[in-house]
Symmetry: D2
Subunit: 347 residues, 4 copies
């Protein structure tokens, strides 16, 4: 039996932290080292995360870099942007492999980071590998710091990148219209996520200004081999988990949905987390709920010459914690799907 | 006291029928003449529509054109397309003003109708006035047959038409991404609207093929003064009432969100059902639930030169039954907002 | 035309306040005098309550007793308990008829109040008329201060009181199991009402300790003519509006559901807000949503000798704001159902 | 490596069938032999169960007893009652261990079965072991036919049985008020589970007449050592998965919530699926969602002398498919929690 990899979770009491706990506990090759959560330090895990009652008996720890480093081979940081960078730096300094779920290391251009985040980039900014395994698998094998992608970018990039790489669509004029479940907004109660004002309606938010925009553009520019600018509109939908992105692209002349489907299948050949459905299927986020899978399908509108890509993920799994585990699997030479093969919870 | 207008509802036991009942009962100038519903004929209204227990004591009637005509000045037909046309024709023949909520008379080009509905148009096809009051108010004053617009078209046209009429956006390249509550699918139980497979996920449907597409195009072509083709994608969202349409347009050079807002306010000056919010507001369908109002707001994305229009309606009210009553108000010379001024039910 | 009654709403920016606004605006005999809300004073109504955009243009006022009194014949106070009493006292002192939606004046025994609310009763404690119109109609005609009942008590008392008054059930051993929509928890965001932790599960709360218990007991003791103690368990259900109470009682020998139904129909004869359904019907809160109606039905379990009462209300209407308007109607000699006849919003 | 146990699922395309598929695929000691579903035979699994796209590639088979028996050591039957018995009999005849999720073999008294199900019991009626592992663990080790308990009974019995067995509460006067998510109604679309009439309201159903009543009574009679009759009221709650049962019992003199808690902990010592929380906790069904766990807590109401038990399960897991797997684990001598240790999916 091989030795298990010891992992700590910093920021364990939020939604992505809790999902990391669930995934680590179910992973055959990982061992949970520390459950760190600054604001809940000293409380019993089962009080803070009642779904772990009977499963985890200890307490949430305060963050202590030395203590975490001593007990861990790797750390997942599930902290808000800004708060994450200094902790990531400390843990990297101490030699841990760090998988950061914040936005602090995802962008590569410091000017873009400063413009969108109104903050100075951290020391290792630009040094992380972008943790979209399907596109950066090789680089991840040796990464010391992984910037786990945002939830919206994951759903959009996986659907659009194959078409740009294959030259099937124009790089200009892309529209990404995304619909997220409310867990994406995090665990802090806000008026905008208060049940009575969230449950029986739908709205857009941060129109033309959401910070995931430059992240999507960065990766699609790589895919296109030229700069891509696009419109991205997030919406809040009254359910808990899932993102559906409906992406609109201008088809190159003669391109069909079947060709798009083939291009995506070719690119994702061997990727355990991507399921490209036949044209005509409209993936539902319920079909991937609780799993690390994305379902993608393409349609062609011959009347307008558009390709419509539909992509569904669970924002907390493939859009965050599952993807982080997938990155770790690749980094540590494990089976990429280890601990992530569970079928979605449907219905 | 003026004599009340006697109205019958044909197809009263579906969702738009029930909403017509609610609105007619609350309308100061209308009198309910007949409650007609073929499949439920003979049953007590309170058994079929339990929210009317204690309010309506009678039975649902079978359809009898002569009987309905004798007792009514006007009829609302809330029937599926195809089933509606023959009944509408009969009632028109007998001199009633008819407000048809089906799609049978909305289009004006028979070839387009045949292509999308795979059916021959009815005798009065092309003779109805399109019942979007804000755009056809004058024509409605003398209409004998009104084709009440579809729910999706209402949300999209009201938001986009002012910009096309004012030349603020290009007529090409429009994308309409709409999100509907489940009541839009009607009252018949289907696998696609079964609670467990609908409640905790979101999906697109009828991608690049929904029949509301040519209806939106028809009216936006009028607004643009030239043919408009666009992409329209409907989505099913896990709540009951409401449609949010997010529409993407290419801005003419230099156009701002403020100008779009002004153009819409100018066009809808004096329209009691339209509320154009300031740029920066993102209307929530919850803000119009249960009311005949639409809330519209515009955003500009300077990075891509796009205008994004957000428009929220209650699909059963402004998207169907309330709009039908609004048409009747105009046709019979009543105050346009009579019976429709109730504030939304929030939260 | 009679002069309208001028009413102010103090605490207008919470959910019951917003619902009062909606009802007052739709009421033929009321005129809105002041919209008061301490924490939002100075903000535009449409910013604080976006469903009133295009309907109400003014600002929320800070509370000024003199100013409110000068402009108003009556006031609705929709404030938290404790905060309400001093404002109620001030407005009563200035001669307004006050309809208080808080718990500050509902109980009649100061010792019970102190035991459950850990606070001293206010000066007018014990002087208010309990505003359950169906049981206190006569007293309300001359009331200066009305304590509008709590949402849970309304649903439970209306269902159980007729049976106790008629001696059909035992006064001992009553169990009230209530299920509430989340709007009952108010507008302040809390972890317990945060969408992701509320939307896809159900839980009880304040088991054997909810403060509505003594209120239900007080009124059922009146109905029974002796002291009633009962078990009351509230639950939080993932939807916004409505309370369903399932109440269990020990039937007197030989009693049937039909007799219970008759007793309730006799007591509520002429009451526009109560609908007693036939045995076999199971009222759904959706059937009363947005309306001031309660639907009640009774079942008998011959195997155990129990009567089961099912009662459904909209907690914000018959459970709060609508009931307050109903009280005002009675107090000012208006038609009891004025402004409250609207059919429920279904579905 | 030990040989895997080959299991078939008959009735694989409903909700409990799909959940069995998920659990079997994630189980280290099981091998999926046949996916049987009469009405969908010949269709691709991924078309019928879209969450298994990319996971299961085959087709749904028609039922053929010989073929299933040849390839399987055990079968799960997830069929409606009545339809299940003949198939169960056939598979038992051929030597398979059968885990039947229907109600056909749960009761032991044929007269009770006939009275509630209006049908003749099947040949092996009375021969099955009742598959509530926590109470029948020993008998299950040698069972040839296991009647997997109903969802409501599981939630109620596990909470109440310890108190009856310990003599802490009276056997008379028990009230069980249960609230179920909509998946409990199965996969066939019905008016009563149509989204718009189910999503934003709550209702009771089958009041004093639900067929799970005699099942609960049978097992609580065993626990009490005398006949138990009780009131059971199921409710439909607008979310997909979960049952919360609130059970009311008359406490024996002096009994406290702490004693009840201790009694339950003692009984369930070593049971991996039961978590007994401290008094004061109110278990939420969200805390067990997707897992084979039940969370139970007790409260005492000293004012009325009642014990209130709260118990939360996922109706599709501990209330059906997970419990079936748990039974199989015990029957085949595996670790009782094998394949069932996954943490709940929260939020």
């Amino acid at each position: 039996m091989t030795k298990k990899i010891r992992v700590s979770i910093v920021g364990a009491t939020g939604y992505t932290g809790a999902e990391l706990l669930r995934l680590v506990l179910g992973h055959p090759d990982l061992e949970l080292a520390a459950i760190v959560g600054q604001s809940k330090a000293g409380q019993r895990v089962s009080d803070v995360l009642p779904s772990f009652a009977g499963i985890l008996d200890g307490e949430v720890e305060a963050f202590d870099a030395a203590s975490v480093a001593e007990r861990s081979d790797a750390a997942f940081c599930a902290l808000p942007h800004g708060a994450s960078a200094p902790i990531v730096e400390e843990l990297c300094d101490r030699g841990l492999k760090v998988f950061d779920l914040s936005a602090d290391f995802r962008l590569r251009d410091p000017a873009v980071f400063e413009a969108w985040y109104k903050a100075k980039p951290s020391g290792r900014f630009g040094k992380a590998v972008y943790g979209l395994v399907e596109l950066y698998r090789e680089a991840l094998r040796t990464a010391d710091l992984v910037a786990v992608p945002g939830c919206y970018p994951t759903s959009a990039i996986l659907a659009i990148a194959p078409l740009l790489r294959s030259g099937l669509v124009e790089a200009d004029g892309i529209v990404v219209d995304s619909k997220s479940g409310v867990s994406g907004a995090g665990r802090s109660p806000l008026p905008s996520t208060h049940f009575p004002e969230t449950a029986e309606g739908i709205r857009a938010y941060k129109v033309a200004s959401h910070r995931h925009t430059p992240e999507i553009e960065q990766e699609l520019s790589v895919a296109a081999g030229r700069e891509v600018k696009l419109v991205f509109t997030p919406h809040l939908v009254p359910y808990t988990r899932g993102i559906l992105s409906t992406s609109y692209m201008v088809a190159k002349p003669g391109v069909t949905a079947a060709e798009c489907t083939e291009a995506a299948r070719a690119l994702y050949q061997g990727s355990p987390s991507v399921v490209v459905r036949d044209p005509g299927v409209a993936p539902d986020t319920l079909w991937v709920r609780g799993s690390n899978r994305v379902q993608i399908a393409y349609a062609h509108d011959p009347r307008t010459g558009r390709i419509i890509a539909l992509s569904a993920i669970d924002n907390l799994v493939k859009g965050a914690s599952g993807q982080a585990v997938q990155c770790l699997n690749v980094r540590f030479g494990l089976d990429e799907g280890a601990g992530l093969r569970g079928a979605p919870q449907w219905p």
